[in-house]
């Protein structure tokens, strides 16, 4: 039923932008407490696809009770309590208030910071918003007061966001492109309106808004969210649609295993999506135009860093990633011609090598093989060398990593110093 509603809503849009009237929606909202089970269930699916729980749940905390600190370039924003608690959550809200927050970035205390991806959710359909609200109202109340805004001056002035929104906020609802297949349109809606992939994967301008380099990859919070465009060197060019589906469903595929925040996205969100929706997301990315990325010349094997790094690779890496760097499918990432390794920014590589990474444990692949951190074991120059080697061998080509890069990353991550001298 939920899927029928969704499809009919989509079709309504496709057939000439017949939108449900806001009034009709609000009538639904008033009855949300008693919303039909299938609407609530569909709302739950939308909440998963939109990965609300990722930000609105603190580590080890109750679901949706807020408290997670998001470290933005402008300061710390703490995610709010969106359980049905009337005093500390959003239990007293109406659908109008929910809509204002989710799709328009306006909370009861004024404008929301775009850490809340209302810039993406703005594209959500009215029907989906109503279902999401129907579900959110069923989330058990948790009393937990959250101080949301810990930003320093001047970013703590919410009114400034009026200007930001005027400049950067595009509130146009999602419009399917009749020239594209249903799957690509569905994928576009999932990616752009719900899953908000661009929040991490699209570079931001100086004001924290999307630049024009959509999905070209960018660094945030110590990780590099990789390039998702169609190019072989740094992007998803070599991945088939099935590789994308397998990755989003299991956290692994024949080339790689997820790491960092993407593992949370997969575990909390994408592994629960229907096969049709995962296929749609894959179709969407594969339908993006091909992009040419000029691969640099790899550093020669005689380069001092590459030479030293090769020895580190043999001693430290080859047991798991295998001597050829091929890794183990669905478990240990291949290092061969790996676009994530070719990213200009070595942020993720530094993060993984220093701090280790806990592998994805999903229903489809519960293994959860992880990589241990090397911060305690390898000096900055050893890490710089081995990364420079990996980035310039086995079919990869990317700028060298310097000892200074490693030292900076070690400091930023709070990683421990080496235990020997």
């Amino acid at each position: 039923m939920a899927r029928y509603l969704l499809r009919s809503a989509l079709r309504a849009c496709i057939n000439g932008g017949v939108a449900l009237s806001v009034a009709a929606l609000f009538a639904h909202g008033a009855q949300a407490q008693d919303a039909p089970a299938d609407r609530v269930e569909h709302g739950r699916y939308l909440a998963i696809a939109s990965d609300c729980v990722a930000c609105h749940t603190a580590p080890g905390g109750k679901p949706f009770a807020g408290g997670l600190d998001l470290n933005t370039p402008f300061g710390t924003i703490t995610a709010s309590n969106i359980t049905s608690d009337r005093a500390t959550g959003i239990g007293s809200w109406t659908l109008q208030q929910f809509d204002a927050a989710v799709r328009h970035g306006k909370g009861p205390n004024g404008h929301l910071y775009p850490a809340m991806p209302y810039t993406a959710y703005a594209r959500m359909t009215d029907a989906d918003l109503a279902d999401l609200w129907a579900y959110i109202r069923t989330v058990p109340a948790v009393s937990q007061k959250v101080v949301e805004n810990k930003l320093p001056f001047p970013y703590n002035i919410r009114a400034a966001l009026i200007v930001w929104n005027a400049l950067f906020f595009d509130s146009t609802p999602f419009k399917p492109d009749s020239a594209k297949s249903d799957a690509v349109n569905r994928g576009a809606y999932l990616v752009e309106a719900l899953a908000h992939c661009g929040i991490c994967h699209t570079p931001k301008n100086a004001f924290g808004s999307d630049s024009g380099a959509t999905y070209q990859g960018t660094s945030l919070q110590g990780w590099h969210a990789p390039d998702l465009t169609n190019n072989d060197h740094t992007g998803l060019g070599k991945w088939s649609a099935e590789d994308i589906v397998t990755y989003l469903r299991s956290g692994t595929n024949r080339y790689t295993a997820s790491s960092g925040p993407m593992t949370e996205v997969i575990v909390n969100s994408t592994q629960h999506l229907t096969d049709a929706d995962l296929q749609a997301i894959a179709a969407y990315f594969k339908a993006l135009p091909a992009r040419h990325v000029e691969a640099p010349q790899p550093l020669p094997a005689t380069n001092a860093q590459v030479e030293a790094g090769r020895r580190e690779f043999v001693v430290q890496c080859s047991a798991c990633h295998t001597s050829s760097g091929q890794g183990v499918a669905n478990m240990i990432p291949s290092l061969q011609a790996n676009p994530a390794i070719n990213a200009k920014s070595p942020d993720s590589l530094l993060n993984i090598l220093l701090a280790g990474t806990t592998g994805p444990a999903t229903t489809a692949n519960p293994t959860g093989a992880a990589m241990p951190g090397f911060a305690w074991k390898l000096q900055d120059d050893q890490i710089a060398n081995v990364l420079t080697y990996i980035r310039n061998s086995q079919g990869n080509a990317a700028p060298a990593v310097s000892t200074t890069d490693v030292a900076k990353a070690r400091k930023a991550l709070g990683a421990q110093p080496v235990v020997w001298h």
């Binding site: 692994t252 692949n365 959860g368």
Partner: protein, 591 residues
């Protein structure tokens, strides 16, 4: 403080191979399962990170991963008229002390037992008659045959990812495998490991002598593998740190790698760690088990009520728990009556040791179960007429050691004992030492048994288990026979110095280096309640909701390591619980 946990459908005592295999089967069937494990949580990546080089001093010498004798131990005597004394130092039984049990630190030899091993009584009577048995020997069938167990052997191998070369598939002999093995329905999940130089020398010599060498099936995985539960394993790197170590490389099948990641995701599974079960509780009439009592890490006493109680602890502790709980009739040595503690067996080890002159055997490249074996003298694969014994041994070139401390004492005879001369001899000896192990059978005997010690108690004030064991005449005869075969092959391999040993020529000791760690029996399965504690489904004859699983169920010991047989019998019992017991709770066999 005493407390009671909410009732579970099933409580499993011990979360090693058998406990976790059973837990996976029963949670998948929808039952609410609580496992109680005396050891702490262990996780492949965080407990055994590949960034940390394995440390022989803490692993092999200080035995960090084992349960320390100071925590819990056994008393031992050779004969019933002696006073048993506790094993106060680390001994030959290597008890696990963590989630995963001994399955975390095991060496990894992964055998299906042969048809003979499951029905020794029938086979010996058919071929030789009772005259073949030495006085006092106890021989009985399991009530379950190799053919019954084949699907479960197959399933367990597909959970473990066992590496090997099949010898017989659907009755057809396969090149390179063990021609004596029971017929398999499918090949090994992953290919056999690469052979060492010593393995190759053994293979060539054995072939020249007319024997049939094959790679020992192993828990060290020969290729990347996704197991029956969807978990991934990575190929072995031959690092040599298997026995007494956890594998952080996802290369050695263990409960931690092959089962627990799936189990921990199931909401109907709970594991209570660092808590030791001290008693199985029963109704006053002892007709039903009601749950278990345990001591947790705070020293508080907890109770876990359950509809089904499954005991999956170490072999000896399965027997002890039944004795401590007053369940079923204890074996009485004087009268020969009673069943709990009866039919206890060990193994009969024989060796051929050798030094070559100018080899480079590179023993640092090894695994816990990197071995090439012949089964020509195992089980009943040869005619025993006139030999005066039954059984035999798997005879193998075992390359499971190359660690520097462990190898330090191995210098050719006549070498200097210190200084520069010793160093040179050690360097040369390290590359030239090899061994052939005869891992031999031991059959139950009237004078081998387990009971509660009258004197020594554990930290909870409960009596320790007492082992009464010495080799019997059958072992002395088979041991010498196998030793001579080991020496024969060692000579054929071209070694310069060769010497042999047959352990039954000395009285049994728990401290003997190179000895087996495999003990079986005490709570055996069988066809007759007078000679077994449980029926063919490992269900207690007296208490239908009590199942004791593991090698304690085996009434005899084979010339093989027991783990895969434990896995297969566990899966066999799990199926009986799922498909028979749950539909109609009560005895699954009536006599």
């Amino acid at each position: 403080m005493n407390y009671k946990r909410p009732k579970a459908d099933v409580v499993i005592i011990g979360l090693g191979w058998s406990g976790s295999t059973m837990a996976e089967e029963l949670t998948r069937a929808g039952l609410n399962v609580v496992a109680i494990e005396r050891g702490a949580w262990r996780d492949t990546t965080t407990s055994f990170p590949t960034t940390r080089d394995p440390d022989e001093l803490s692993g092999s010498v200080r035995k960090d991963i084992l349960q320390a004798p100071v925590t819990e131990t056994y008393t031992v005597r050779n004969k019933a008229d002696q006073t048993a004394l506790p094993l106060r130092r680390y001994h030959n039984l290597t008890l696990g002390n963590n989630v995963g049990g001994a399955g975390t630190h095991w060496a990894g030899a992964s055998w299906r037992w042969q048809s003979f091993d499951h029905q020794p009584y029938t086979r010996v009577m058919e071929r030789y008659g009772a005259k073949q048995l030495v006085d006092g020997l106890i021989l009985q069938d399991w009530g379950v045959t190799y053919d019954d167990l084949e699907p479960f052997y197959d399933r367990f191998e597909k959970i473990a990812g066992t590496s090997g070369t099949a010898g017989v598939i659907n009755g057809v002999k396969q090149p390179g495998g063990n021609p004596f093995e029971g017929s398999r329905t499918s090949p090994y999940p992953t290919p056999a490991l690469e052979r060492t130089r010593a393995n190759l020398l053994f293979s060539e010599a054995a072939t020249r002598l007319g024997y049939h060498p094959f790679p020992v099936p192993s828990a060290m995985i020969g290729a990347p593998y996704t197991n029956a539960l969807g978990l991934n394993l990575a190929p072995c790197t031959y690092c040599g740190y298997c026995q007494l170590y956890g594998c952080g490389n996802w290369s050695k099948s263990s409960p931690n790698i092959c089962i627990l990641p799936v189990l921990m995701q199931r909401p109907n599974f709970t594991v209570v760690t660092e808590s030791e079960v001290i008693r199985i509780n029963t109704t006053p009439d002892k007709k039903m088990a009601t749950g278990v009592t345990f001591v947790d890490s705070n020293g508080d006493i907890g109770e876990q009520p359950a509809d089904i109680v499954i005991t999956a602890t170490f072999t000896l502790d399965n027997t002890r728990l039944l004795l401590l709980s007053g369940i079923s009739t204890p074996y009485d040595f004087a009268s020969g009556q009673g069943v709990v503690g009866r039919a206890f067996t060990f193994q009969t080890l024989s060796w051929g040791f050798m030094f070559f002159e100018n080899e480079y055997l590179n023993p640092f490249m090894n695994t816990g179960a990197l071995a090439t074996q012949i089964d020509d003298f195992n089980g009943d694969n040869f005619d025993h007429t006139g030999l005066g014994f039954i059984g035999g041994a798997g005879i193998q070139s075992l390359c499971n050691q190359g660690l520097p401390i462990g190898m330090a004492g191995l210098v050719p005879e006549g070498s200097p004992q210190w200084g520069k001369g010793w160093k040179q001899a050690f360097q040369k000896g390290y590359q030239n030492y090899a061994q052939i192990q005869g891992q031999g059978t031991n059959f139950a005997h009237r004078e081998q048994f387990l009971d509660l010690d009258p004197t020594y108690k554990d930290r909870f004030g409960q009596p320790l288990l007492r082992i009464t064991f010495d080799y019997n005449e059958n072992d002395r005869r088979s041991g010498r026979f196998v030793r001579d075969k080991c020496v024969e092959i060692a000579r054929e391999m071209g070694a310069k110095q060769v010497w042999g040993d047959s352990f039954p020529d000395q009285p049994y000791s728990g401290y003997r280096p190179w000895d087996s760690s495999h003990v079986q029996g005490g709570v055996v399965m069988g066809e007759d309640p007078k000679t077994s504690v449980q029926n063919r489904y490992q269900q207690n004859w007296d208490i239908p909701n009590l199942f004791v699983i593991g090698a304690s169920s085996f009434p005899n010991n084979a010339g093989y390591n027991p783990t895969v047989a434990v896995g297969a019998t566990t899966l066999w019992t799990a199926k009986a619980i799922r498909e028979m017991y749950l539909k109609n709770p009560g005895p699954l066999v009536r006599v």
